[in-house]
Structures are given as structure tokens and as C-alpha cells.
Amino acid sequence: VDMATQLNLSDSDSSDLSDQSVFTRRSNRSLRIAEQERRKKEEEDPFVLALKYFSEVEAGTPVTGNDELENNLVRVEKVAFSRGLSPEAISVMLDFAMSLRMGNPCARVLKCLLPASVVPQEAVVRAIVWLTVRKLPISTQTLHFLVLVLFQCPFICHLLYLLTRKENGKPGFDIYFSGRQPYLLYLLSLYKVFCPELVTLSIPSRMKSGFKNHISPWKSALITVQKRNDMQVASSISLAFAVRDKTASRKRKHAHLELPSLSPVTITEPQAAQSSSRKLVPMQQIQSFAQLLQNMHRIELPAQMGSLLGSSLALQYLDCVQDESALLRLNFWLGYTLHEEFLFCSDGGANKNPEEALQFLNRLLSVQHFLQEGFNSSDAFMYKFLNVWDGSLLRPQILGLLSNIPVIPSSQIKTLLFDPLMQLFFTSSLFFKCGLIECLNHMLLKWLTWHSAYALEDDLDISLNSHTNITLSGFKDSVMELVHFVGRLASVGLQLEGCHSLLLSFILDFYETVCDTFLKFGLPLVVMPPPGVFYPAFFAADPVSVDRLAFIMHRWETIHLVQSKPWNWYLEYLFTQGFDGLKDFVQNSINQRVMMAGDGCDNVTQSQKLGSAPHIKQPLLS
């Protein structure tokens, strides 16, 4: 009946607005109808009804045996634990709990105050008012929960800061307390996050207290709700909860792989410049990119640089700032961790906890991928580690780290890289060989990319680790060395593995990259696949390899046509490389093309060449 009357109303409304166009009238009507339908649904929604009950229930209603109360509470809990409560719901429930309309606020009610977004300021203020006015005898457990809920409101932290601050920065009042009161310690540790200079206390790092038993299920429920709502779980509470939970991680003798916590510098020099100049913002407080941009000029780096590896914001800042000391600190920590975990362990430490080592290396790889370059310490570690690596421990990660190594001068590349890799290559399985070729392919690609970017930047040093100024000729030498090395590896590898098509595929990938050196990256290098690679590809049983080889040859052809170098030069070059058979082959095909003169056709594919090629004079497999 209500619906009908509403519809009638809407009809009468629309008929009165005769000057409006039909379209807008219809759209207004549909909007209004939708709105009314939604309101209807809300009114019937059990959750909304439950909230209504809690806001309207009279003081003095009995608690025990009250089925209505129980049902409504269950409904609220259900919504709270699945989606979290909206700010209005929070204020209603908090009001209900604190106004003692139904006896002492039970922990159950407070437990379900999981906010979906934020806790509104008015609710907090009202709750505090109730607290002070009524002088409630609250149990400590209840108080814990209350404190936690209140601190979900970012307003509270700011309020605390403002209350305790005078104009000249000195504290407005002292915080007195005595005895062991763990929840107050939590408050203080939170406060210390925001104003470290005002809290000159030494707060123990492991605060084991009764808090833990009550709050950990609540905390995990809160995190679940926030994650479901796609919220960043980066509120101030999560910072306080970053207290290391010793029971969670196994007690390890050498806990290298844990990143240090992002804590601000604790020691401030007595005559600090803080009072005179800008106030430094500790990195811990930066939660979003916008905040980073706002405070770019006054960010204070944390006490332990290793903690930056866990935060992409911090890494972005580091990339921009390029502070040598900060980077050196980070490199020291990173190098120390890698050495201790993989090099210095005499009892096979890495084998004992491979899971953590794997996660650590994955994180390091993602950081390097984010920054688009490696770290000095990880490079130094790799050179040492390659000599003792067995080729199977954490293979994908180690190969990933290897591909991030920057350009090595050609004088050192043999001892640092080639010798250990050769040893590993020839004593390993087919899959390792494929993996290593792929890794060297990525390495070449990264060298070329870095060089092209660096060359464009001229005087600007864009890299994090200030690579040694390698000249263009030095760079070319190194690239040549690498390509020749892969050629040697590939030739012998194919012989060992019987020209396995998977290995051949990875090798041909590499040579496609080599083709790109000139076309894409502008480096004037011409390196052909060696005979040991060319002929297996040429005579491969599967057509894919032959096609890819043809593609590579075609690209070389394109280069030389672009370069407009005469064919003679190309042939001479082939001859010097020992490609007698190939030279003859190409010579014949050129003669063929010259005979079919006037085509102007550039795309002479291998198949056409094959079709028209006369017999080869010299044996191909020499």
C-alpha cells in the first residue's frame, strides 16, 4: 500500500511539472522510484532494524533472557565481522555500550566494533564524555578494547599530540604513571611514532602482556575486514602491532633474514637543529605517495636502513634522494645478510630454512625490479657466491640476481663471471643450461637498456649505485665479450645435449637480442651466431628453429640494407669468421637475386633461398 501511494504521489508530481520535458520527468521518476525502493529495502534490512533497536532501547531493559537483544546483537556481529561497521553504526553501538542503558558495557558489544572505514569523531567524543561523567567501573579487558577502538580514529592521535604541545614545542603536561600498565605502554609507543622527540622513554621492544590474548583474534578480524574492503591496512594501530611476535616466528639462532622494523632515529643530538629549522618527518609516518611528495624535503631516514626494503614508497624516496651514506648503510646490511645466510654458514644454514631464504630473495628481486637496477652489495655477493654455488639451490632467484649485475669491465669479466659460469654450465643439467642462457640474455638486454638510458642522460647520474664511468668503447668490449662467451657456451652445450631443441630455442632468443643491439639500442656491433649454433639451427629437425634462424638472418640483412653496406663487405666479414660454406650459400643466393633483378623485394625468406639455391661447394660441417 505504501508503494502504491508513493507511486501515486510521484505521478501527481510529475503531472504538475508540465513545463518539464517528458524525458526529464521520466528520468526523475525513475530516480525517485529507485531511491524509494532502496529506502524500502533498507528499512526491511534486519541489520538496519537491529541498529534501530540499539539506538532506541530504553534504559533499564533486562539483559538476561532478552531474546530480542540477543538476535539483534547477533545480526550486528554478523555484519561487523564480514564487512565491518559503517561510521554511523559504530557511533550507535558505542553510544549504546557506553551509556550503560543495559548494565555494564560487555566486552562482546565492544568486540564487534570493527570499523569498515573510520571511527567518527563525534562517537569518540561522546564515549569519552560518558566515561568521565558516569565514572564507570570498567574491567581492564573492557578498557583494552575501548582503547583499541578509540585509537582507530586518527583524530585521537592528533588530539593527544595537540594536548601535549605548547607553542615552543615543550610538552604541555607530563604523563605520569607507575606500575605495569601494558595498555598505557601501547598508547605511549603509538604516541612515540608520531612525536618521538616528546617521548624520551625507552619502551621495551617485546611487550608481552595480557593484551595479546584478548586482542589477537580481534586484530586479525580487523585486518580481514579492512582487506575485504580493499583498505590499506596502514593505520596507526598496525604500526603499534608491528611489535615482533616472538611466538609466531621460530626462534632462530641467526635471525638475519628478518627485515629490521621501520623505527625512527632514537638518539637526537642535544643541540639539534630541529628547533630552529624544519621539523623532520620520520619515514614511518609516510603512508601514501601524496604524503611523500608533500614532505619530500624533510623526510628523516629510519634508524636501520635495511627496513626500507619492505616499503616501495621508501625506495622511491631513496631513488630520488641518492644519499651516499644512506645507500652505503643499506648495502652494508644487505651484504651482511646475504653473506651470513649463504656464504658464511658452515652448517648449511640456507638449507635449513629454505622457505625464508626464498622469500627474502624474492623480495630482493622485486626491489631490484622496481628500481631497475641491482645493489653493489648483491653484486659483490654474487661474484663470491658463483664460485661455491651448486647450481640447484634457489636457482631461479640466483639466476635472477645474476641478470641484474651491471656492466663489468672487460678486464675483469673473465675472472669474475665467465670462469665460474663455465664450470657450472658444463656440469649441469639441460634445464640449468637453458636457464643460464636465458639469464645471460636478460643480462645483455639490461646492459643495453641501461646504456641507452644512461647515454641519453649525458651528465646526469641516474643510477642508484653510481656505476663506474665506463666509456663507450669499454662498454662495447664488455658486450662483445659476453656475446662471444655465450656463443662458446652455446656451441659446446648443443654438442653435449645433442642439439636439443629447447636449448636451441633459448640460444636463438639470445641471438635475437644480439640483432637488436644495433636496431633498437644503436650500438654498432655485428656478431653472427657461431658455426656451432648456426648449423644445428639450420639443420634442425623442427621447423621452428629453422624459421627463427631465418628471422635472425633476415634481420641482419635488414641492418645491412639500412646501413647500405655493400654485400661484398658482408661476405668478407663472413669469410673472416670462418663461414666458408655460408658465404658460398649466400653468394649463390645473391647471384640468384641479381639474376632476378628489378624485384626490389627485400623480404627474401630462407625458404625461397632454399628453393633456388644451387648445390654447396664445400662441406658444411667441418
Binding site: 605511549l188 617485546r206 651514506s325 652494508f332 651482511y336 658452515s346
Partner: protein, 308 residues
């Protein structure tokens, strides 16, 4: 002496304060000859670690560091209680100081440790930026939990890293040679070496040589090289090749008698009356002779462990 006694009595009347640590650090980079006194003997004992360079370590702020470390240790020890830095209720007293050679042994130390860098490689030291202080050698003696607390405070404050220092074979061989050389002045009683051999089950060999015999061997090793260069008698200049020959002499002697080739194994421990050193980093030095050389060797050992 009376003044000392008076001072001691006054200390006893103060309220119960346990001296947690006498934290000494040396910042000597050059090889001056010191007159070392007995204070070193008590301190040169403990477990060694290597330390990556400390960031913004100011030797002018030692008092502030003492206060902070004291508060940190107190807070960690008394769980759940935040401790005010510099407050009067601390029951631990920490003192940071530069080692002065006339300093007495502080009484009732519960824990003691020191950081140092002696004759460190100047190239490496100069390559570090000015903010960094390189004190790669750390030695701690006392309760393990206090050691870990001090280390974690240092890690947090100066962004450095601690790792166990394994004294390498070269250093142990050097120590054997140095102590043998000392026998000319002080009686070392005997030279004891412990080797482990990589067999199953692992074999441990304790090789003890009488001091006179080992000195004879050492002298004979040196004679062949002393002919080449006539150095002054009082200036001891030992080449590592002499040390190698000395060790080879010892090992071949063992082989002749027992048919076991010690060079296939590892030297784990070297000890004499002047001190002992184990491969796991535990040292004990009872004599001040060659102290600088020994600490230079250990500093070099620690610098080898630096990640970059």
C-alpha cells in the same frame, strides 16, 4: 694506595648498583708503540664478532650513549616497564669510555666489551664516507643475554651489523708462531694445537709440543731466512713464509710418527701459557707481548668479513 682504598670504600657505601659494562673502544689507526699495562689483560678475553661500520658514532657523545644503553637494558630486563632515560631509578650503570692506559680495572663488572680497529687497511678506511666509523672488531665477555642486548642496541642506534668472527687458519698459524717466538723471553710451557680431520667419525687431534723443542724448530726455520737479511736483533720481523715453513715442519714431524697428514684437516685451536685462540672466535690473551700484532691480525680477519 691509601687514596685508592678510600675511593673503594666510598664506592661500597653507595646504593646497590651493578656495573653492567665497562665499554671501551679504541680509535687507534696507526701503529704506535704503547706501554700497555695490566688493564688489557682482563679485557682481552671473550668472544669475537665482526661489525660493519657504524653510522654517526660520535666519540664526543659517550655519556649520552651510556645513558641510553642503560635505559635500554633496564627496559628490556624489566618487562613491561618503560624506563626514563637518565632517570634515577636505574639499577644498571653503563659507562662508555675510551680506554685509557692508566685506568684501573673497574670493580664488579658483570659484562665487558670493546670495539676496536688496530692497523686497519688504510685504503679501505679511507674509502668510507666521513659519517662512518669503522670499528670492525668487537669482543664481549659476560652473560650472553647482556651481549645480545648490547648488540641489538648498537644495531639500532648506529645501523651496523654483528656477525660471528671465525678466526681463519692464517691467523691461527700466526699466533702459533708469535707465541713460540715469545718463548725466548717468557716461558710458554708448551704449544698446544687442536686439529680436526674430515673423516667419519670426525677425528680430533691434540698436538702438544714442548716449548723448548718448538722454539728450536722455530729458530731453525728462521735461520735459513735470517741469512738473507741481517736485521737488528731486537726488531722482530717475521715473514709469513717463515710461518708456513714452521707449520709444515710441525706437520711433517707428526706425519713421520703417526702417518696422519694434518694439512688435510683444519687447525681449530692454538693455545699456550700466553693465551688461546679458537676458530669459533673465542680468544684469551694473558700476556701483553705482541698485543698490537695480535689485534692487528684480528682486525684484518674482521675486515675480510666486510660485505663490501
Amino acid at each position: 694506595w691509601n687514596a685508592e682504598r678510600r675511593r673503594r670504600r666510598r664506592r661500597r657505601r653507595r646504593p646497590r648498583r651493578r656495573l653492567v659494562s665497562s665499554f671501551c673502544y679504541c680509535l687507534l689507526f696507526s701503529s704506535e708503540l704503547w706501554s700497555v699495562n695490566r688493564a688489557w689483560r682482563g679485557l682481552a678475553k671473550g668472544t669475537l664478532s665482526y661489525v660493519t661500520p657504524l653510522y654517526q658514532f660520535r666519540h664526543t657523545q659517550l655519556k649520552s650513549y651510556s645513558r641510553q644503553l642503560s635505559a635500554f637494558i633496564a627496559a628490556e630486563k624489566q618487562e613491561g616497564l618503560a624506563v626514563e632515560v637518565g632517570g634515577l631509578q636505574n639499577t644498571f650503570k653503563v659507562s662508555f669510555s675510551v680506554l685509557r692506559f692508566r685506568q684501573e680495572d673497574p670493580p664488579k663488572t658483570v659484562w665487558c666489551g670493546w670495539l676496536s680497529c688496530i692497523n686497519g687497511n688504510p685504503e679501505y678506511l679511507q674509502s668510507l664516507p666521513k659519517d662512518f666509523t669503522c670499528l670492525p672488531l668487537f669482543c664481549s665477555k659476560g652473560a650472553e643475554d647482556l651481549s645480545s642486548l648490547v648488540k641489538s642496541w648498537l644495531q639500532r642506534t648506529f645501523d651496523c651489523c654483528f656477525g660471528p668472527l671465525d678466526i681463519n687458519q692464517t691467523t691461527l698459524q700466526w699466533l702459533a708462531a708469535l707465541w713460540t717466538n715469545c718463548h725466548m723471553e717468557t716461558n710458554i710451557q708448551n704449544l698446544k694445537m687442536i686439529w680436526t680431520l674430515p673423516v667419519l667419525p670426525p677425528l680430533q687431534v691434540t698436538y702438544t709440543v714442548d716449548s723448548d723443542d718448538v722454539l728450536d724448530l722455530w729458530r731453525s726455520t728462521r735461520e735459513s731466512s735470517a741469512e738473507k737479511s741481517r736485521e737488528a736483533e731486537d726488531e722482530v720481523c717475521i715473514d709469513f713464509s717463515e710461518v708456513t715453513r714452521f707449520m709444515q715442519g710441525l706437520m711433517s714431524h707428526f706425519y713421520r710418527h703417526f702417518r696422519v697428514d694434518l694439512s688435510a684437516g683444519e687447525l681449530n685451536q692454538v693455545s699456550s701459557a700466553l693465551g688461546s685462540a679458537k676458530v669459533n672466535g673465542k680468544i684469551k690473551i694473558s700476556s701483553s707481548r705482541y698485543l698490537i700484532s695480535i689485534f692487528s691480525l684480528l682486525t684484518e680477519c674482521a675486515l675480510l668479513k666486510m660485505p663490501i
